[in-house]
């Protein structure tokens, strides 16, 4: 087979049986691969009654057809499961070298079922697959695990994806780390892996990915590569990385989550400590994922202060916010925080947002030293932040256990009005202020995996390029085209996740980088099947409908696509000031109408689903009484 390896590895952890099966052609035709096929498998196999940590949940790794090929930045995989903190559809995307290696070994998807009686790890050596004992690895952090497995297998270049103690202890935002510092970070996939007693997946692949149209494919890939190298992204993200956005949000857009949203942005007198210059002082070199010309990763080294000597692959925009959420304005702290969370295998943002929420309660006197086990949770206390991180990973006290549940669940369990200061959508914490603009607000509210900017937030002018209209994504305070743009980006991002490219250097985040036309050309040359920009976009729409239908089945409706009261009432300095509730509801109605969904409930309609060839899903939803014929 060309492009796809055409094989899916089914691992039944309960019985220890590994079975390699052909990936059904029907799935490949309708859902491309990666995130798309993952979503369909999840819909078919995990019902709404199954708890995320139940052995009945599935953990699905998926690498799309372009993964591991010459296509630029083609090493992304999607990990899908029922989400531990959204309690609905959830997926997570990771880069590095592991996804490509998975394809080289000859697998498109790994599906883990059941729960292993003892800690175990999966070793894939091309066609030879076995589950190995991991009792000696249980309790070890991610970096120790990688080192031990490499030594055990006798190959220093084996690619490994593993979990640390937080995953084992079912912290709901534990992550899967691969290649030392690349994470499937959103959604708590690490805890699902931990609930299955699966410590790691190690891969060595030498089979490669076959190509149908060899000359044409090389030409298409070189062209896409050239586009990336010539694009302005190489200068912004390629040199400054994502912390560049911190400056953009703070100084231009005037909204930057700070101090658990008590402040609209970092105060002017503190900003030079967390700005771009402070960041560039830490950089010692740049890093890139497999076959990617855009070196958005940085290796950072703390040179002064208490963390001097700390070195590691460092951080993106969201980690920069982690510090300021706890009112810590120090990039050396952020570096240490990033390195520690990578090592432990926990989402860098999860504990930061939970601790920030606890700091607000501590300030208000709702909790005291007694609950926090003597940790002084005043704003800006760096030592307390690390103590709290350690306790959350171990979950060794009632309060640390509570924070490990994620802010949504924790605030509901804690009660006493603390829900008002837990900012999230469908359980997913809010990392960008919705008061920034209409498309930002709409995309965060309607995202299928909780508040998230990578599902549908317009981060480039690609919508204008596609429709041939003037469209400026940074001008987000006007209402025109916003619903249409979000629909377009949701479908586009579904395509990108499914073919296995990165959003950083494609249309998703830069209109000058490769887009749907280039994807279609590369896919056609690679697979020998015929694709056009429009046909890809239709597949993207189909995938997004599956995700939404899954959420409808889990009981999520239009009422869940909203924010906490604060964003509707408290004005900040942005052009929009607040999210006007009436206009926002109208925008949502417009969005559902364009999607072909029922504006009253937010559920996909049977007509739309059947139009997209999702008849079985329409039947299922009708049978359950969620939608009417």
């Amino acid at each position: 087979m060309f492009g796809w390896s055409g094989r899916t590895l089914n691992v039944d952890l309960t019985s220890g049986k590994c079975l390699t099966q052909p990936t059904p052609d029907d799935l490949i035709t309708h859902f491309l691969g990666g995130a798309g096929i993952n979503a369909k498998i999840l819909y078919d196999e995990v019902g709404p009654e199954i708890d995320p940590f139940d052995p009945g949940n599935r953990l699905i790794f998926g690498a799309g057809p372009l993964v591991g090929t010459l296509a630029p930045s083609s090493s992304r995989m999607t990990v899908t499961a029922k989400g531990p903190f959204t309690f609905a559809f959830c997926d997570s995307n990771s880069g590095g070298h592991f996804p490509a290696e998975l394809k080289f070994a000859g697998y498109d998807h790994l599906i883990f079922r059941g729960k292993s009686p003892n800690p175990t790890y999966l070793w894939i050596d091309d066609d030879e697959v076995q589950l190995k004992d991991a009792r000696h690895l249980w309790g070890k952090d991610v970096w120790q695990t990688e080192d031990i497995i490499r030594e055990e297998l006798g190959d220093p270049d084996v690619k490994i994806a593993s979990i640390g103690p937080p995953g084992e202890n079912l912290v709901r935002y534990a992550v899967i780390i691969n290649d030392h510092a690349r994470a499937a970070g959103w959604g708590g996939m690490g805890s699902v892996m931990g609930s299955k007693n699966l410590k790691a997946v190690a891969v060595r692949g030498t089979k490669g990915v076959q190509v149908a149209g060899q000359e044409r494919f090389e030409k298409a890939c070189l062209k896409a590569r050239e586009m990336i190298i010539k694009s302005p992204k190489m200068k912004t993200i390629g040199i400054w990385g994502k912390p560049w956005l911190n400056w953009l949000r703070n100084e231009v857009q005037k909204s930057n989550p700070t101090k658990n949203y008590l402040l609209p942005r970092v105060p002017a007198e503190e900003f030079n400590k967390v700005g771009l210059d402070a960041f560039m002082d830490l950089v010692v070199k740049w890093k890139g994922c497999f076959n990617c010309p855009l070196d958005c990763g940085h290796v950072l080294l703390s040179k002064t202060g208490p963390y001097a000597g700390t070195m590691g692959e460092g951080f993106e925009y969201n980690q920069a916010i982690d510090g300021q959420m706890m009112a810590i304005y120090d990039l050396n702290f952020v570096l240490k925080w990033t390195v520690e969370t990578n090592r432990l295998g926990i989402d860098c943002d999860g504990p930061a947002y939970a601790t920030a929420w606890a700091m607000e309660l501590y300030e208000k006197g709702m909790i005291t030293n007694k609950e926090t086990d003597g940790i002084d949770l005043t704003w800006g206390n760096q030592e307390a932040a690390f103590q709290m991180l350690d306790k959350i990973c171990k979950r060794d006290s009632p309060f640390a256990h509570l924070l490990g549940e994620g802010i949504d669940l924790a605030s509901r369990k804690f009660g006493k009005g603390s829900e008002k200061s837990a900012y999230h959508v469908k359980g997913g914490r809010l990392e960008i202020d919705p008061r920034t603009g209409w498309a930002t607000a709409l995309s965060h509210a309607t995202s299928t995996r909780g508040a998230d900017h990578l599902k549908g937030m317009p981060l480039s002018n690609a919508f204008g390029t596609w429709k041939n209209i003037p469209y400026e994504f940074t001008d987000d305070s006007k209402l025109d085209y916003k619903a249409e743009a979000v629909v377009f980006f949701e479908s586009l991002n579904s395509v990108i996740d499914s073919i296995g490219l990165c959003k950083n250097d494609t249309w998703s985040q830069s209109a000058e980088c490769p887009g749907l036309h280039e994807f279609a050309e590369m896919m056609t040359a690679l697979t020998g099947r015929s694709y056009t920009a429009n046909s890809l976009l239709e597949i993207g729409e189909r995938i997004y409908n599956v995700e939404r239908a899954y959420n409808s089945r889990c009981g999520l409706t239009r009422a869940h696509d909203t924010f906490q009261e604060k964003f509707f009432t408290e004005p900040i300095e942005t052009k929009m000031r607040v999210v006007d509730k009436e206009k926002f509801e109208n925008l949502k109605t417009e969005y559902y109408t364009i999607r072909g969904w029922d504006p009253a409930t937010g559920h996909p309609t049977g007509k739309k689903l059947r139009e997209l060839g999702l008849g079985t899903i329409a039947d299922d939803l009708e049978k359950r009484g969620i939608i009417k014929d």
């Binding site: 070298h97 030392h180 692949g205 990915v209 890093k287 497999f290 990617c292 700390t310």
Partner: protein, 224 residues
Amino acid sequence: MGVNVNSHSTRQQDLLIKRSAPCQAGYINTCPAIVFDATIPKTHRHGREGMTTRPDEKEFRLLFSQPRTCIGCRSCEAYCAYHHYRENNPSRALLRIVKFDNISVDVPVLCQHCGNAPCIKACPTGAIFRNPTTGAVVISQADCNQCRACMMACPYNVIMLDPKTGCVTKCDLCDGDPMCAKVCPKHVIVYERRDVGPRILMRAANQALAESVVEAWKSRAKGS
């Protein structure tokens, strides 16, 4: 965990020193080539002629690399394998990026097409010879007896076994137009004449220093 500033730079330097050490320390002279020298019939030594003379000629170009700025993306491996085998399979690539994940350093290891090539000396069947048009040291698979003497002789350990065929393989400079240098996004691998290449890398490595001089002038002007 983090690595100390000093220990990091020392380790990196160690790495570089170790890499170039075998050549400087006369490793070549003690390699198995000497043993083979007396035993190989002259008829098998066709690769020897011009062994040392050709790369000294100015117009020959060589691959130069710079580990300090390598981003470890392995684009070179991907395109190398694709160019030679029309397959997306970096495990068959003829050069390697050796990744030291725990200290975040990536070292490109590529055939230097040595002037006094130890692999040519070591080869008992004369299967390794220098391509007279490109100056590349190449293997003729038809003459190779898979004894792997060349692998032992190589000071860079860059002669590898192909995972698919099990045969000894090495870089052939893509017949004078190497893909690795063409696709390297950071110009860490460059393909240049021997009098130009080192200067290009030297310039790249010192650009930041040059810019800092200007910055210092500017800040002094502001201060006064």
